[in-house]
Chain length 388, copies 2
């Protein structure tokens, strides 16, 4: 069990911790307070589905120097003890009198001198996974310490993946590739779409996913309505375009890409839309380089779609990927994040075919100095047909 | 699709909204701000796995009177439009300039007069699913309004399940019952435990789960070490006790119960522990009535285990259940929540067999005026054996 629960050798976590501490020093933070499953996993290797229970908060502190400290419910001591973390402090949560705040504030007051600053992620795409009243109490108990926004400290480190992380993402992408290849076996005319969703999840598990955190999709005549709905119970019909999208997980790392199929011969407009999406992605695969900005990807995809006579969909056209289903940056006109080598990204152009009918593509890449490297198999240029 | 995405008839949601508004009136709240998947689903019926993406916040406001208002990313408009909610206001998230706070604060300032109070869950077992910096900005923009703790308003309503909700939980419990019955087919000596976890998830999906949000377990000689770890890659050995625990989901409702098996003949101490756990649960099934307190359940379970010569495990020995894997109250010595008819609960006694070896049982019940009604099949009194 030890090597599996650690996921990576200790050196990987020590490197992460050192990178966070370098960024903290630049930003002027004396300690970093982390509370979410992804941030805790990133620093410690502590991986559990028990986060699904909202009953208890979990805290990890990264000091200016030295190893992280885990301040966690006693139920997690055994599992945290199998990670590289040595300093583990526990309380018998849930405790309505004091759910860890006494222990956390004492530790913070030891780590952070009066006048010092505690950093925690407060910005876009973050939240604090602890009760608001307890956060107020924590600040009251840490008098003389300031709480500042460490979003960029954490994002700036997490967004560059190590080769070990890239291997994990490539591995879960390969699982999804094999599961997608099996979709024509069960996504046939007459089968209810919710059954297709179940069979697809079964295929992902059978092909090696540890678990399936996300499946969405859609099916409709010549295109689907949205990309976040649970499965309808209606049967697949001839003329439907089916889309499946998954964030499956292995060793705590996600894939996030989708695939489309036509049930029966593909309608002309869906076929044209699929082609335009394929070509738009091709443009980015050919052109993207480190130093470009997130909004450049949005522009490249939109321009290519318009040049093909298609109407680009609204919203973001891709994003970061790693230990959550979606990470920053966002491929929108507003995001000027610099794209750097080592970022794992999704390219997700969409087109509006008609009112209420869209088509969306997604591929997963890692950005290299020389350009994008695909982490999943490329979708075929022609919309695949099932049952023709 | 509409009837599936709504999950329940409108009347169910109108009843919930009215119950929240009654509790708000007593507590003096002019509006309720909800941000988590469970709270948003409870009020609106909006069900999606898209919450897996941390990129965007979602807001639902329950006013003093009248229907709820959804203030959400544009990507969710289509799905929210298929619920009973009519007033849906959207913005193109994620927007680094203003990720919904302008829209949310305007709406709150309209709903809540100067001097009024906005309630939001701030207490035990809650968190605020939005960036901390945006919450600060929201309060700054809602000058003259106070933000107060609405934990009991939300918990007091959500903790009493309607018959429609109980039917949903019974339905997913039946799915898990059928999946557990199939475990002896694949959990045999020599099979790696992580493969058992995959096969169990596949069985849950094949038996009708929409998705599997939680599987944990353990396996070890005569007992396991903890109950929250991901699966080890080691093979099952003769003499192992295997435990599987699941929170599978159907129509947004969870089950949460576990089962134990001995691989080969059960060791005597594990067999005795299993008996003691069965009898402790039996005591509560016979004795529990509305009006008792959460800590009474902890005491009954612990006393019964001690009377059988077993050592009760630490931590809580059960909890609420519904639209998250775990809900309040907690069966600990410290929780004095009054247990009421309509609460769906788990009974989860554990014993320490030896250092690093535990055994845990779990059953799901609904508390009726006449006592507990089982929602899952009762585990057998004798530890089941596989491969004897």
């Amino acid at each position: 069990m030890p090597e599996r629960s650690l996921i990576f050798p200790c050196g990987e976590f020590q490197r992460r911790c050192a990178a966070l501490q370098s960024a903290m020093a630049v930003a002027g933070f004396d300690a970093l307070l982390l509370t979410t499953p992804a941030d805790v996993f990133y620093v410690t290797g502590f991986l559990t589905r028990f986060w699904e229970s909202p009953a208890r908060p979990w805290f990890v502190l990264v000091p200016r120097a030295g190893d992280p400290i885990a301040i966690i419910p006693a139920i997690g001591a055994d599992l945290m003890g199998r990670t590289w973390i040595d300093d583990i402090r526990t309380w018998p949560a849930p405790d309505p009198r004091d759910d860890g705040i006494g222990l956390l504030s004492e530790t913070l007051n030891d780590l952070v001198p009066g006048g010092g600053v505690v950093g925690l992620p407060m910005g876009l795409e973050t939240h604090l996974r602890m009760p608001v009243a307890d956060y107020d109490e924590l600040r009251a108990r840490c008098q003389g310490r300031r709480f500042g926004d460490a979003t960029r400290v954490v994002h700036g480190v997490r967004e560059i993946k190590s080769e070990a992380e890239i291997d994990k993402i490539r591995s879960i992408c390969a699982v999804a590739d094999r599961a997608y290849a099996r979709v024509p076996e069960f996504a046939v005319e007459g089968v209810p779409v919710d059954q297709v969703f179940r069979d697809f999840q079964i295929a992902l598990l059978a092909e090696g996913a540890d678990w399936v955190s996300y499946v969405a999709g859609g099916a409709g005549q010549g295109g689907y309505g949205d990309v976040i709905s649970p499965a309808p119970v209606d049967p697949l019909l001839r003329g439907d375009v089916l889309m499946l999208d998954t964030g499956a997980v292995r060793d705590g790392y996600f894939c996030d890409f989708d695939r489309n199929w036509s049930i029966g011969p593909a309608p002309d407009d869906a076929r044209r839309a699929h082609h335009a999406l394929f070509e738009a992605t091709e443009t980015v695969l050919d052109t993207l380089r480190p130093g470009m900005r997130a909004h450049d990807v949005h522009r490249m995809l939109s321009d290519s779609l318009r040049a093909a006579g298609a109407t680009p969909g609204g919203g973001r056209l891709g994003h970061g990927l790693g230990i959550t289903l979606t990470e920053w940056p966002s491929f929108t006109p507003l995001d000027d994040t610099e794209l750097r080598a080592g970022m794992v990204l999704t390219l997700e152009p969409g087109v509006d075919i008609a009112p209420g009918r869209i088509l969306v593509h997604e591929e997963n890449i890692v950005l290299r100095d020389t350009g994008p490297e695909l982490l999943c198999q490329r979708t075929p240029p022609d919309l695949p047909e099932i049952g023709t």
